[in-house]
Subunit: 605 residues, 2 copies
Amino acid sequence: MKISAVKKLFVGSPLATAQARHERLSRTSALAVFSSDALSSVAYATEEILLVLVLAGSAALTFSIPIGIAIALLIAVVVSSYRQTILAYPHGGGAYIVTKDNLGTLPALVAAGALLIDYVLTVAVSVAAGVAAITSAFPALYDYRIPLGVLFIAGIATMNLRGLRESSNLFAVPTYLFVVSFAGMLAYGFVGWAAGWETPPPPTADIAGTQDLTLFLVLRAFSSGCAALTGVEAVSDGVPAFRPPEARNARIVLTWLGVILITLFVGITFLARHLHVMPRAEETVVSQLARLIFGNGLLYYEIQVVTMFILVFAANTAFADFPRLAYFLARDGFIPRQFATRGDRLVFSNGILILGGVAALLIALFGGATHALIPLYAVGVFLSFTLSQASMVRRWLTRREAGWRWRWILNAVGAATTGLVMLVIAVTKFSHGAWMVVLLIPLLVGLFMMIHRHYADVAGQLSLDAYGGPPPIDHTVLVLVGDLHRGVAAALRYAQTLSASVKAVYVEMDPERTQKLEEKWGKWGLGIPLVVLTSPYRSLLTPFLDYINHLLALSERQVVTIVIPEFVPARWWQHLLHNQTALLIKGALLFRKGVVVVDVPFHLR
Amino acid sequence: MKISAVKKLFVGSPLATAQARHERLSRTSALAVFSSDALSSVAYATEEILLVLVLAGSAALTFSIPIGIAIALLIAVVVSSYRQTILAYPHGGGAYIVTKDNLGTLPALVAAGALLIDYVLTVAVSVAAGVAAITSAFPALYDYRIPLGVLFIAGIATMNLRGLRESSNLFAVPTYLFVVSFAGMLAYGFVGWAAGWETPPPPTADIAGTQDLTLFLVLRAFSSGCAALTGVEAVSDGVPAFRPPEARNARIVLTWLGVILITLFVGITFLARHLHVMPRAEETVVSQLARLIFGNGLLYYEIQVVTMFILVFAANTAFADFPRLAYFLARDGFIPRQFATRGDRLVFSNGILILGGVAALLIALFGGATHALIPLYAVGVFLSFTLSQASMVRRWLTRREAGWRWRWILNAVGAATTGLVMLVIAVTKFSHGAWMVVLLIPLLVGLFMMIHRHYADVAGQLSLDAYGGPPPIDHTVLVLVGDLHRGVAAALRYAQTLSASVKAVYVEMDPERTQKLEEKWGKWGLGIPLVVLTSPYRSLLTPFLDYINHLLALSERQVVTIVIPEFVPARWWQHLLHNQTALLIKGALLFRKGVVVVDVPFHLR
């Protein structure tokens, strides 16, 4: 099967540019499309809080309640703040664009670097958590979590390379199923708990703490829980996809999202505490909760499958966001231009491939464990939150548009809060992995600027401003010959059409052969002069290169075209039976200034 | 360090063709140069006989005596036979040349295939045996026998790539030291044994046989011992290297060689039997013999080191023989031509590299064990003996030169004897590995003929006989442009020097950009017409290839030259920041009939 056939099988036939479609989303569809990233984090956020607190013993788990409330308030602040961004950026207000607009290029690149890292981690964390939902239900699969994770990523990447044309319908079912299932589970759990139907068995034994319960530890638990906020910004990035009035609909959807997110997150955190759920490596907190509430029946499995789906869809949103941001960065010349080209299926294939590759690598390096990836995650998210909100503050204060007096305050509260949280996360998580992100962001920014400088430099060198036209050329055409036969004769004929001043060059290894060649040349040399170079060391290359250098030294305007007759055998293995002289010469003269190498194929039957 | 510098370090500076030197050898020098291969086999031939016989129990070892005598007679027959070859081929009578001369191409190719295999095995077997001599003396090295063997081969190959200019002096010391040391050891051993100085301790226990002592087993032991004959033909191959009268001197040296070989081989076989030496994996028979005769003193170590050296020199002769035979075969068009070119140091580098590579592979595959390689060895040798002697019979009978009446009888006896031995070896060793050689020889012959047919076919297609001159050409030059800037302008200027009918081709992805390009084109397009191709699927390649096909269809005489402007960034990593369009186009049009691709480099600062 040819490569193109394999590609067609997995990726599909090419789509015409005219087939690009701009779907407009109703509020219910939009909620489904933009909420999966944010909502999916309730599958692991509570667990991450408990995992830190339990280090101080099972008694410390009580602190999950105030931490949960603090995070709920944080969600409310961030949602209010982003409602203002939507008003100002009805064409989409991603952190890179908003920051570039208001704070300038350097902060925008910082936001972009943070976001690129964030998207990669969204894929890695969501897929790891999705796999954990499955391995909680089917423990036999636990040992295969890394290959399962890589397989999930490969699957999502493939779908995205095809282009997800039916996206909104595809999203609606699992998202609403997730919301309804989780709301139902929580309601049933709370009713049962309030009615005292059945007391779940208390944990077999209290766990002794290995660390003191310090403020630092509580803040670390809070930092871990902040993973619940990831993805909240998705609505404001996607305003143009809404049906008109876009901004109003987007604001309503964002509010809905905030309410659902707070409800589910706080509900899970409270119930997990009251039912005495302990975090464990082999089974997720949500899985334990679902077992306690529903028993081991069908409803339990439904919760796990729905959790897995919402997490996979969350990963999927990063596959839309990363290539789009990469496109903006490539368009502005901060990353290689190849990220700005749409592939056969109208998607930014290079961005999808890079994202999938790096995320799969992370899954493998971090052992497929959500918990190990979380410390890297939230720093970048909150850095981009902060820059984005701070940009809005600057905007309101500069432009003084309608409502700026209290809107700037909302954004300022948002910026200050998220900035503070970012610092808390960076400090409390630093030694657990946040240092990598703190290090990587400036490195990325440096790389962006280096690439930008290169492109600017090239553009300057290519610019037609003040251009006097291309310099005139003195053109010499050399045909390198090793013999005279039909293949060489055809190359000589070709060379004659290129220039009136063609010379054939022969490197002599054996004077006897030279004489034979000169005899044939009289009859079949097409009147082209034959230059014979001696080679005391039997090297073809050295005398020939010396001769070219000699020609180039004649004038600044000199361009030498070297024509090499090359056999093309009918079968690939026959290449092995012929000297690869053409390859050798091309290698030696590759990128040589003033030299153009042309090989003229002579096709053998 | 650059590759050229590394090459210079190991291989040395190039040598001028005029430096080729033709050394003429005295008889004593010639004996040293040509005997190492033959003499070295006494280091393992006796052991190989014992290893087979011991399968029938230690009592069966008695049969080593008659087998040794039979092999001594065989040596006498082969030497007498080759003495006739020397007379007839004073310019060197290798089996390939002699057979080709008298029996024709196909038998000659069979001889050539057998010889090539033989040379590879000479290297592998000799090096394995040389390593065994060392590991017998220093058992701690036994576990490193494979890397040691590969290292030896690499060393010998490197020396040969440098060109062994001081060869005869280099050979004389170890060869004569070997002869003198072994003769001394045997004399001392026999005197001691005759005088009954000291009875060596009998073996600790008799070994029980696992097989019956059948005629087949005895013949197998004989076949293994026939390894002693390998290398006897070297003198007759090298006649032109002797001082005049060449043939006479060569015949005398061959006789000396036969006498020494028989003496050493029979001596070792007798003494090993009388001193009750048992074959063992970790220590060679020669090593055991030397310990029994000399004790563990300096003389013992001298024997081992001298054995190692003669074996390495034996391997070294194959590094002269293989490339020379490959040269003949390449010259006659039976293997790739590259084997006929001399490298910088006037040696046939390709032959040396292939021989070293394959021999090292064999050492690794067969665990560095001489014993495992022996069954593959002698079939090829005796096949080439037989063909060579049979050729001589034919020659004497056809030409009836002086002395033909009894010379043909000598050669006929030789041919019949070696032919019979070859059959015995093939049958008794078949299942132990000889089948590989029996299979490989016809495969090689088939390959030789396939390659020959290809070269003949190509020569026919290239021949200037009845040639009407190269067909006339209608030449179209296309410049593929993606934009118009200084790089493109330079390429347009270059294209204008190639042809009066230049067109620029632009593949449209976005109509807006086309309009901008057309505006610039008016000012900077050098008057070259711009062809705009639409691309509904955003593919650069498809519309462009369609356009080229359309041009080619216009006439049989049409040749299309495609000029591609290509950036050459100042640093290698900057290549990653530019689309590799030129590479893509070259790949798509590689070896396309009627199409020539030229990329014109534009050098960035």
